[in-house]
Amino acid sequence: MEIIVCIKQVPGTSKVQVDPVTGVLMRDGIDTKMNPYDLYALETAVRLREKHGGHVKVISMGPKQALDVIREAFMLGADEGLLVSDRKFAGADVLATSYALSQGIRKMGEFDMLLTGKQTTDGDTAQVGPEIAEYLEIPHISNVLKIIEVTNKSVTVEMDMPDTIELVKVTYPCLLSVEKDIFAPRLPSFKKKTETKDREIRIIGLNDMEDKDEKRYGLSGSPTQVERIFPPDDNVDKETWEGSGEELADRLSDKLKELKFI
């Protein structure tokens, strides 16, 4: 069983603020961690390998600091890692990111399953997985709750839909986005940390890709453009109430009565 897992380094905090005057992003330090949802995908991959043999490879995209999450993946049981890193990929939106990752995955050899987490905590969009699957021309299943059966040709999973749970069989190669709680992620192993500290991580850039057309990557390959960023709107019709707890409680119950909520 050859499995590739997509992982991402995300900010350790969501406390990003924008200067309302200049529109400039203000970031406090550069505290980072592995996207928490990716831990479930990685755990799923490692458990499948433990049961069925094969290899678990991880891929990430980002600056050189993202090597840290690949090292972390080694401590959690991954066998190999690849980092897609090039300034030419800067400013990539979902489409250009998915394209660069799909090109990177093509350099990792044949695989049966490609696993991703449900979404990232910094983008929350859950779009990159399905776009990679499209570029690799393979089927994908989102919202995977459980792996039911694994054969040498296909995997059967439970997929979570709003009102139903569907038992679905898909043939390899395929992409699965797994839900949180599919398996409890293990803790990083100190033994593995020592064992893997010198393990080489391949870093590839534009010149290593099959498609070297600069226009398909980074800002140039991104159909969406951020026109502006701004702080959220204030509600203009606002009443501010101050006073003792009793006063506020009485005023609130009166108002709720007036509005016919009581």
Binding site: Q17, Q65, R87, Q127, P130, G218, V226, F230, T240, S244
Partner: protein
Amino acid sequence: MGKLLIHQNLVNSEIAEKLIKLCPFGSIEYRDGNLDIDAGCKMCRICVKKGPNGVIEYVEEQAPKVDKMAYSGIAVYVDHWEGKIHPVTYELIGKAKDLAAKVSYPVYCVFLGYQIFESAEDLLFYGVDKVFIYDYKELEHFRIEPYTAAFEDFINIVKPSSILIGATTIGRSLAPRIAARFRTGLTADCTKLDIKDNSDLIQIRPAFGGNIMAQIITPNSRPQIATVRYKIMTAPKKTAKPSGEIVVCSMDTAKLDSDVEVLKVTKKAHEENISESEIIVVAGRGIKTKKDMALAYELAEVLGGNFAGTRPMVEAGWIDAKKQIGLSGRTVKPKLIITLGISGAVQFTAGMQSADFIFAINKDPKAAIFSVAHYALIGDIYEIVPRLIKNIKLIKGLIGEIPKYSAPSSMN
């Protein structure tokens, strides 16, 4: 569309230091007299706009121009399960009509499924111009390849300028697939949509983890695709008479092949969904202990509403994930929402700010929640809520008649 050029001849250590400090992503390096930008660059171009003049230059590249006139209409994907239409569809039709009116476009629906003709007729009561249906056995269950193929056929034939898709389980899986197939832009979870005279869709959504809003456009690609969550937009009123027409589409069924086989479909037990509640009491970190959650439960109970929580409450295990409001939880649009001790990160407010009446209680007068609240109550929930509950019971004539409320075990 462009790239950054560094003019090394203008760089010295002082200038390099300024630029390194300026970059919000820590992506500028200075080594051996050479300034470099690494792969962490987000192309925000602050180094160009605010940096020492002319050191880093932004070079515009000519983007391939799309013929925007070749595309017209706003299309709405009809989200459904076995022909039962998800209400987000009607909300998107409402928004599509607003947008279409500004640029004199028609409004289309695209409906993929099996034995769906009757359901499609219902859409004609909401003021759409055409409903395109693909009715095939292969589309009975949602499977990604045939759904993408049918959607692709629709786009090739109709050439819609914009496509709105509900950010449901199906929409979140299907929309990116379509976007990648057409190599076009997709903006997820938009909270506001507008349109420019040149048909560019103005897509606004929370960004960078949720404390900032971003306005996003897709200026050189068509179709433009946006997803919107349930309970963000407003559904139009059902009309007395149907209008518009149903167009039954046919396509090459060989394209509807799939490597996915649906073996069994099990109905889930009915779950209470906070998205459907008209009155919601939400607990935040101002609640000090799990036991104190009873305050929120009881207030919700006496108001005849539901209770919910923020992401930290779910992470602490004080409340079930299905009760979470926010970008990573559910979006709600109740008539009344009362927030207890919630600071108001955009991650949360994006999931509730279209409520009709928002009452926020927080001790901190600077809490961000007050910028979305209609009524900002600066005070202590531990002083206000118990008396509020008593007052409500008095008004309802319940006092002394109901036993002290305790949370049933199913609530956790």
